[in-house]
Symmetry: C2
Subunit: 359 residues, 2 copies
């Protein structure tokens, strides 16, 4: 079968997420060919093309999307630019894989889900591709813990801490669409939903306990209105009680600790890096009263990536492999995740428990 | 100064909490004399008196309370019996130290607080006497973590798990006054309040995910209506966000993990035993990015008890030592804790955030 010809929007010779994760991921997975890229100008794109050996380079993402030698447009730029890039690509009949979050708001995500209806779309909720988490889901499904009674999770947000990095100032305010709610919390809630079933209802407390943070470029104190504390409790569709607490920044204590307690056993997932959806995860489990390390079976791995689970490209490569099987979360799924985020936001705003619509 | 002459209600030769904790605690602390005890009958009291060398023994607690050689009545029986024992003791002009919880309900606790007004009363919220937790409070007060941003806590309830022990069936239903909410959650919330300041508002999710449990005596499956899942989020009076999740039973994973995150540092408290208020605690802290073990300074200890923090009598002994200084939580304090529990219950019932009245 002919390889899927990929065009990446946002691949720069200066590094960044596309360079760090997508380029090595595509190199590791059969069935793809990195054919095109678009940068912020024709010149930067040309330089990147030379660096990564990509034949087609564009200073305009619309040209990339319309080019007949591109099958799949990968959108790896910041979320405020997504819609303007995705809609033309879909209109040109291309497959689109967008990094998460899909849209800056629930309304924009609705519009993108509508635009993507009936087309081949995917979003970068990499937790759904992580071998350790797919194994975890199967352990739960196969009854390792028996009936799930509860789940408790404490994690850091990585960003939204005491300072903001260069180019990340759009993350300081909800209007930028890239907050601790829409990024780490969304990955967390989506992963919990994959493994245990989603929230039936949520009660949320959110706050911005650092209303001013330091700009790492200028040194200035700047305003932050995005939440840096998200504490959600609720009942999952299966009846288990869930408690999730995310705090901005990183912690010398817990950066990712997730445990699942059931009638017959317990499972614990941990990561040193708060970005668990692209980080190395460790699994421990107990059916006897003593936790033991669990090794992810080889059938969940891509052999060429075995042992590389700490690399950012690892879960992205698994995502590409799953995309070939039509097994990635699509834009409709992205909308469902945004609806959960909206329920959390409404609960935090109103102080009331909010039902999450079953989809 | 003459020692305080103590009469314990509920001290049995067959063991139990009074024998395990109060007898060795009184033996370890200067200023007390264990002068009297009351048991379930004159004969069992006499046997216990011989065993523990207690001169005055009673089959009737009212007689103990009225005896002129008793200054302090210690009530160490199950909570449904408290009121009937405490009110006569107070009426006889005696000091009363009641084990926690004080009353079976908010209303009963109000009545007892009213009966104890102007008198010398105390309740067994041992967390307030624990050296490690008093040291923790002082670390926070002295700015170890800077401004407190958040606190996250996962713990087990010890009881309210898959089975119920002999004599504990009254704990299966809220009417018994001894549930995961009124015992472990109360100790937890009170300790958090001591260290960080209390809740300003709470949003709670509670459930009974094991509506039937096994009676360890008969083997029968019996109904449980007490909550075995309590997940509370909220904002503390100082503005920090708090997340507390208690689950029934014990866990092969986390039985007590509490962390406090601030602008300048982090503190972590852990216990292997869910009953943290009478268990051995370990403290770790970081102001540099690396957690290190913290040793409780000697000034918080009773020298004769150093190294014995894993013994159930350890914090009880510290409580007796503090009682001599008038520094134990009294019945009025017990009522304030019950008011927090009531706020949690109302939030869980209504699905609404509930303000905790500032006292």
């Amino acid at each position: 079968m002919a390889p899927v010809r990929v065009g990446i929007v946002g691949l720069s010779a200066n590094g960044g997420w596309a360079a760090t994760a997508h380029v090595p991921a595509l190199a590791a997975v059969d069935g793809y060919e990195l054919r095109a890229l678009a940068g912020s100008s024709a010149e930067t794109a040309r330089v990147a093309g030379e660096k990564y050996g990509v034949p087609l380079t564009f200073g305009d993402a619309g040209e990339l999307a319309r080019h007949p030698e591109v099958d799949l447009v990968v959108v790896a730029v910041k979320v405020p630019e997504h819609r303007a890039l995705i809609e033309p690509a879909l209109a040109a009949g291309k497959q689109v894989l967008s990094e998460w979050p899909l849209g800056v708001s629930l309304a924009e995500t609705e519009a993108l889900a509508e635009a993507g209806r009936g087309k081949t779309t995917a979003v970068g909720l990499q937790g759904r591709s992580a071998p350790a988490l797919r194994y975890l889901r199967d352990l739960i499904k196969d009854g390792y813990v028996g009936r799930v009674l509860s789940t408790s999770l404490i994690a850091s947000g990585a960003n939204w801490g005491p300072s903001v990095r260069a180019g990340r100032d759009y993350q300081l305010h909800p209007a930028g669409g890239a907050t601790m709610l829409t990024i780490p919390f969304a990955h967390t809630a989506d992963t919990v939903a994959m493994v245990l079933g989603g929230f039936a209802e949520v009660s949320a407390t959110m706050a911005t306990v650092r209303p001013r943070v330091r700009d790492e470029v200028t040194g200035d104190s700047v305003e932050m209105t995005a939440p840096d504390q998200i504490a959600v409790t609720g009942v999952l569709t299966g009846g288990a009680v869930a408690s999730l607490h995310l705090r901005g920044g990183t912690s010398p204590a817990t950066n990712f600790h997730w445990e699942i307690n059931g009638t017959e056993g317990t499972l614990v997932v941990e990561a040193a890096d708060p970005l668990f959806w692209i980080a190395k995860l460790t699994l421990r489990g107990s059916r006897t009263g003593t936790l033991e390390k669990l090794t992810v079976p080889a059938r969940y791995e891509l052999p060429q990536l075995a042992g590389r689970s700490a690399e950012p490209s690892y879960n992205v490569a698994h995502a590409y492999a799953r995309h070939l099987k039509g097994d990635l979360p699509d834009f409709a799924h992205a909308l469902r995740v945004h609806q959960v985020l909206d329920a959390v936001q409404r609960s935090a705003d109103s102080g009331s428990r909010v039902q999450v619509d079953a989809k």
